[in-house]
């Protein structure tokens, strides 16, 4: 879909998903790394736990559909070469700290002179300016400042982030929307666009209903472990089962079906089926009406039932009988999840060490312009000759000088 467009990707681990998504959508993405490589090449996890630039699974996961070159943008010669690439580009995405590109003489105002239709997207922790713009930030502190941590974790312990870092992925995904919105604006105005993406606000949006809650209801939402607040009642969302956990919200519709399972297993007596109007149980509970069986008694019965079955059994029976039960999958369970296999989701990627592995596939299926993975993450400087020599017509010596790969 985006095949007419060229994207220059100057991001590091804070923005690489953004340009990858544009690449998946069809754009020609040129990743520009410093000679020592992107920071994400030094981030774990690593193949065989070897912390080498070509073995980072983080780099590998977020840099497909890109060609890679190296440029040492601290040198005048490299910057001149870079500006020639900017002339040919439609989008530029970077994740430098505010002001860093200006210091190199490669800020938006300099680049728009070279390319008056450029869409320039900058991803930073808090935005380009403002009181916190120069704050130091990490995944953890942004999860805190963006509000999501306050909503997560057991109330008797500190608030928690999602263990696997998410903040820069959220910001990067948002940066794709930002890039395409700005591109649509460029088409209307005929002018280059500067887009300022804030990771903090990308985290705020993960709060969903809690973002403006205090101004509306006069109170904040707070972390409540694995329960879900429904009106005045907090219902558990996570049940221990024979081999792990499952997520189930016991509303009336679910209860009316599950109660038969409980009876069938002998967890509760037969009379439970008839002596309560289960379909409206949750509504009557919320309204404080008298109930034949108290909520704790019902939850205990469901907990006893869940412990007797595996999460896969619960999922499959639920699917057959219209009860929504989700297994709490580990990454191992995900890799083996039959639904994804039958959808043909996984792609088999050749790994940098010569092996291969299934990796997440295309993220949406289109009938006319299907997304494809045309290439896997580039080795450091893999396309220096192809792009600097082939497209810009530099001589071998100039390529070596600009890319910082000159030897001796």
């Amino acid at each position: 879909m985006l095949s007419p467009y060229t994207v220059l990707d100057l991001t590091d681990d804070r923005g690489e998903l953004a340009s990858m998504v544009l690449g998946d959508l069809g754009a020609d993405v040129i990743k520009v790394e410093p000679p020592m490589g992107s920071s994400s090449r030094r981030m774990g996890l690593f193949l065989e736990d070897a912390p080498e630039p070509e073995r980072s699974l983080h780099f590998f996961a977020f840099n497909r559909n890109k060609r890679g070159i190296t440029l040492d943008l601290t040198t005048e010669a490299s910057r001149r070469v870079f500006l020639r690439l900017v002339e040919k580009a439609d989008f530029l995405i970077e994740s430098a700290r505010p002001g860093e590109m200006d210091e190199l003489g490669l800020g938006f105002d300099a680049l728009r002179r070279v390319n008056p239709l450029l869409v320039y997207v900058a991803i930073t922790a808090f935005g380009q300016d403002g009181p916190y713009a120069d704050f130091a930030a990490s995944d953890l502190t942004l999860a805190a400042m963006g509000g999501s941590m306050s909503l997560q974790g057991d109330p008797s312990r500190p608030p928690v982030r999602i263990t696997v870092p998410q903040v820069w992925l959220q910001a990067s995904a948002e940066a794709v929307v930002a890039a395409l919105t700005a591109h649509a604006r460029m088409l209307r105005t005929g002018e280059a666009q500067f887009v300022d993406v804030s990771a903090q606000t990308a985290v705020v949006w993960t709060m969903l209903n809690a973002m403006v809650a205090h101004a509306i209801q006069g109170s904040d939402f707070n972390r409540a472990g694995s329960t879900l607040q429904l009106g005045t009642i907090a219902l558990p969302l996570v049940y221990e089962c024979a081999d792990g956990y499952a997520v189930l919200l016991l509303n009336g519709v679910m209860l009316a079906r599950i109660i038969h399972w409980l009876v069938e297993d002998g967890v509760v007596a037969q009379e439970w089926i008839e002596s309560e109007d289960w379909r409206w149980y949750d509504v009557r509970l919320l309204q404080g009406e008298p109930l034949r069986y108290g909520i704790q008694e019902v939850l205990d019965a469901c907990r006893r039932y869940a412990r007797r079955h595996t999460k896969q059994e619960l999922l499959e029976r639920g699917l057959r009988e219209g009860v929504t039960i989700a297994p709490v999958n580990t990454v191992e369970d995900v890799a083996r999840f039959r639904h994804l296999q039958e959808r043909g989701y996984w792609l088999v990627a050749p790994l940098p060490d010569g092996g291969q592995a299934p990796v997440p596939g295309i993220f949406a299926r289109l009938t006319e312009t299907p997304m494809t993975v045309r290439r896997w993450a580039p080795k450091l400087g893999e396309h220096n000759q192809e792009i600097l020599g082939g497209i810009l017509g530099l001589a071998a010596e100039e390529v070596a000088a600009a890319s910082g790969t000159r030897t001796g």
Binding site: G44, T181, N209, V328
Partner: protein
């Protein structure tokens, strides 16, 4: 004037509900598209029945959960179980450039507004279906919420404490991932259509989109057999790394020490106490091994100070530190204020209330929600008469048939 906006002139029929579809359509709406949100009174969008409610009082038009995700849209209440309602839906699809829906797979075909019908009405339409699992596969019929998808994708397992059952991320985590990727896909499809005149069908699965956010861990499992697990606030590489208690009721500041330099800076900021000079804490690996001990000392220091004080003191020496903020903190966060993030608008029933703003700013363009979320069916008349060009007689007829409800 909306013609000047990025998506001015684009027409969207938003048949989706709850979170992912409506948030996707909101991107287009806030940036200029004319979006008709097709709703029903029976039942209303689940978000209209979920808080936060204005002043804590429930009501169809009092939920800002609904409000935040449906700004800049027109609301048409339409009964799709009624043939006259389906006829109106078809006219809307014929009008639209983009048609978004999030029913259980198969539903739109059964209603007579599936992709084939949409194409026959409008050959260049871009139709996007989104649901948890995608349109095909053995679990396609799984009709759940984002917290189910978050569990299936692996996020539940990865949020909380190793010695407790998983807490899971807040609410419905994958619902914050999917709209970003789906909106981007629709915008790319619009650009393709602008250049070629070609529309298409998009099958988007929340699960398949969200799994990219765990890609390194999934690949790692298949090459090393290692299964990622939840670990509180611990990091594999950094220490100290956690949320530390501060003065006040349930107040916390997150601190992440990324390097030996930052550790030295932290030590000095604490006044170089004797415990911190311990050789066992000098290198990252060593701090990692002894992080529980460091955490105890650090928590003692933070406990006597406000979270704001801890943050500013540590930031002044370059250490990543951030207050664990709640909605009330965000509403007075100076950085968000600087970005003009929250936008106060007058809602017909809730009065002057804040809406969450945009996560990116485009220089020279003060974007944000253009107008508040609609009341249920607020724009029935406008949509039928002005957008669909129906005559008085036609409108009387569909109303009498019970289609507008």
């Amino acid at each position: 004037m909306s013609e000047q906006l990025p998506f001015g002139g684009i027409k969207v029929a938003d048949f989706s509900w709850i979170m992912v579809g409506p948030t996707t359509a909101k991107y287009l709406a806030d940036h200029g598209a004319t979006v008709v949100r097709v709703e029903s009174a029976s039942p209303p969008d689940r978000l209209r029945a979920a808080g936060p409610f204005k002043d804590g009082v429930p009501g169809t038009n009092r939920s800002q959960f609904f409000g935040d995700f449906n700004t800049s849209k027109l609301s048409l209440s339409l009964n799709l179980k009624n043939p006259a309602g389906v006829a109106v839906a078809r006219r809307l699809i014929a009008w639209a450039d983009v048609y978004i829906e999030s029913f259980t797979p198969g539903t739109v075909d059964a209603l007579g507004i599936g992709y084939e019908t949409a194409c026959s009405l409008n050959p260049s339409i871009i139709m996007a279906s989104n649901c948890l699992m995608g349109q095909s596969g053995p679990a396609a019929a799984f009709a759940g919420y984002g917290y189910h998808a978050s569990a299936i994708a692996g996020f539940h397992e990865l949020t909380g404490w190793p010695d407790l059952a998983p807490d899971g991320p807040w609410m419905a985590y994958t619902n914050s991932i999917a709209p970003r990727l789906l909106a981007a896909t629709i915008m790319a499809a619009l650009d393709h259509c602008r250049r070629t005149g070609q529309g298409q069908y998009i099958d988007a699965s929340q699960l398949e989109m969200a799994l990219h956010f765990l890609a390194p861990q999934i690949i790692d499992f298949s090459v090393s057999g290692r299964v990622a697990s939840r670990n509180g606030n611990r990091s594999d590489t950094m220490a100290p790394h956690g949320a530390y208690p501060c003065k006040g009721d349930d107040q916390w500041c997150a601190i992440a020490v990324e390097s030996d330099e930052q550790w030295d800076a932290l030590r000095r900021a604490l006044g170089d106490p004797a415990w911190a000079r311990d050789d066992r804490f000098r290198t990252g690996d060593a701090r990692h091994r002894h992080q529980e001990e460091i955490d105890r000392h650090l928590a003692q220091w933070t406990s006597g100070r406000s979270a704001q004080e801890v943050m500013h003191l540590l930031q002044s020496v370059g250490i990543p530190a951030g207050v664990v903020q709640r909605s009330s903190d965000l509403l007075r966060d100076p950085q968000l204020a600087h970005r003009n993030f929250f936008r106060y608008m007058d809602h017909a029933e809730m009065g002057n209330i804040p809406y969450s703003g945009h996560q990116f700013r485009i220089r020279g363009y003060e974007s944000g929600p253009r107008f508040p979320a609609p009341l249920l069916g607020e724009h029935n008349e406008l949509v039928l008469r002005e957008i669909l060009g129906m005559t008085d007689d036609e409108i009387t007829e569909v109303v009498a048939a019970g289609a507008i409800a």
